[in-house]
Structure formats: structure tokens, C-alpha cells
Assembly symmetry: C2
Homo-oligomer: 214 residues x 2
Amino acid sequence: MRIPKHVGIIPDGNRRWAQDRGMTKDKGYECGIDPGLESYRICRDMGVEEITFYGFTTDNTKRPSYQKEAFTKACVDAAKILIEEGAALLVLGNTNSPMFPQELTPYTTRTKAKEGQIKANLLVNYGWHWDLMNLACSKNLNKNNIQENIQSCDVSRIDLIIRWGGRRRLSGFLPVQSVYSDFYIIENYWPDFKDTHIKEAFEWYHTQDVTLGG
Amino acid sequence: MRIPKHVGIIPDGNRRWAQDRGMTKDKGYECGIDPGLESYRICRDMGVEEITFYGFTTDNTKRPSYQKEAFTKACVDAAKILIEEGAALLVLGNTNSPMFPQELTPYTTRTKAKEGQIKANLLVNYGWHWDLMNLACSKNLNKNNIQENIQSCDVSRIDLIIRWGGRRRLSGFLPVQSVYSDFYIIENYWPDFKDTHIKEAFEWYHTQDVTLGG
């Protein structure tokens, strides 16, 4: 099977999942941590080299503070779990903001992978504008070095983006790394993650061609 | 019904359509012109304000020349038909290249709409890198004026992108205007366009929420 080198994960539907269970919206996020580790392990074991999780965005921080606290805590916990697992973790987002959790500052430089582990990127207080704005500072920009000059320059081109929760949109997820990505949508909410979701996405991806726009 | 203000059209599958009929790949493009006009009319009549067609890209120009000639001619013909219809046409792409058809130069400034007509953008020799590279020249770039500083600044944010031909990817289509777009995929190849395709896409779009990442 042709395995994507780099998989993007959009773990959507936490709030709808909580509401469906009669819980307040914030309660969904903590149930999204285990699926994060599980998806990392499945990807790693299938031969993926890099996985990027859409944590939270600068857009998301406009939500009520009880929700903000919940998704921020979930991201901090997820980072710790990925470090414990041994992933080469990079936390990426706008650190010049009170919304960026200080506990994650040490991981804004990529950690070293333990043996047999892969790269994991966690977008925290990420914004597509913040990412692209960096281009204004770049000298000698040309058509081949755009990715090297954005804030997310340490994140490679994404082959396959899997989104949970049924929405069919990027919601600002890494616009440059996504230009040629294949999108696969899972109807289930993220806390209802099953390992078969990743496998079905990979089986679908295997049937697609790779043209990079050519 | 909630109607998208701006619809993006990715008219893919022309070559596969031609091959399925035992024709050479180039023969598909001319059969994509009528669907272009038809989709413009349906969108206009349903209340859409702006429609953007993905003509061809700088990536596409690496294809064999008999194909290049065919898709270039189809774009020139499509532009003429849209002008005749009275659309406010803007042809957008890298004009500093022999790949840009000179006949379309007059339309690189938007034409005036005839009464009751809408904006139509046709991407011709467009490249996502070419579009973003412009940010390097921009002074005072901030998170609110990125779109005003890219090459495609006259193209507004896209609400709904409809892609024919079954692929689930952007293939470099307007990365900034697409950050919050909903994607709808039609399995049929573009020359097999039916008016029901647009209507089913709009019905689906109507069921989606609009959060702009929030």
C-alpha cells in the first residue's frame, strides 16, 4: 500500500459530541486526547514519517473562556503524552500572545525522537495569517522557497488530511502545506475515533494519484 | 435557501473523459466550454455574486504541448463566451510568461458587467506561488490585509468550492481565498456536467454552518 509520508489530522466535533451527551461543550476536549495518541501510534506503525495535529487556532480563541481553558488544557496534556511516547514533537503557533500556554514553550523547538518514533507537530494558537505574514519579512522570495519562508517552515508538505466531524473544509489549516493534499472526511466526531478510520482513509488515499498539480 | 456569495469551480476530469471515449486527452477541453457557461448562468440565476473558474495553472503547463494548446484555446474561448454573456470578467494569472495567451490581456482588468450579470474570474496561467510571492513586496502587512496584498486581491473569499472529477484536493486553487471554503465533490467528469450538480452542491452547502474558523 502507498502510505502518505505526512498526515494532517483535523480533530473536529468535540463540542458536538459533548452536547449530544448532554454535557457542556468544553467536556469534549479531554475525550480527544486518547484518540490523538492512538492516531499517532497507528500512523507511526504504518510507516508515516510525520503527523500534524490541528490543536487550536487564533480564530478559536474568540470562544467563551470555559471552552478556551478546556481546549488549551487538552493541547498541553496531548503534548506531554506525545513527549512521553517519544515523538519528535514540535509545537507551532503564535507564542507572542497570552493565549499561548507557557508550559509548551520548551517544545517550540523540535524535541529529539526516541528510537522508532516519528515527527509530530501540534498547532497551538496557530493562525493562517500569522503563518503567511512572515513572507513580508523574506528577502529573495521565489516560487520555490515559499514554504521555507513561512512561520511553519519546519512542517513539510502534507499528503493526506483527515478531518473528523463531517465538515468539509480546511478552517485555516496550513494553507501552504495543503495546496496539493488529498482530503478525507470521517463523519464521526473526534472523540468517537476508531482505528479503522485511519485505515479506511489510507485505503482511499492508496487509490488516488499524486500529480502535485501537474 | 442560503446561497453562497462566491462559488469556486474546479472543472476537472476533461482528459479522463476523453480517454474513456477513446479520444486523445486534448479532446476533452473543448467539451468543457458549454458547462462553463451553463454553470455561470445557473449560479447567476440563483443569486451568486461571484464565480471563479480554475482555468489552467503554471503547474499544468508542464504537460505535452498538444494538451497545452487545447486547454489554452478552451480558456480563450470560454473568456469570449463569458464576455458575450455580459459577465464582469477578470482573467487572472501570470502574464509575464509566454504561456499566458495574449488574446486575454484585455481582460486582466475587470470588464464592466451588463445588466443583471455577475463577476466571473477565470484563472489562466495561475500559480499559488505566483499569487503568494507578492506578499514579499508588501509593506505594513498585518493579519487583516493579507488578501489585499496577494496577486489575486480582486478575488474575494470563496464560500463553496465545487470540484468535478472525483478528486478531493485543491490542487493549488487560491490558497488564501479557500481557507474557510466548504468543498463539494462531484464524481462525474466536467464534460458530463449537469445542472443538478450545482443544485445538489447548493443544497448541501445550505445544511452547513458558517464559522470562519471561529
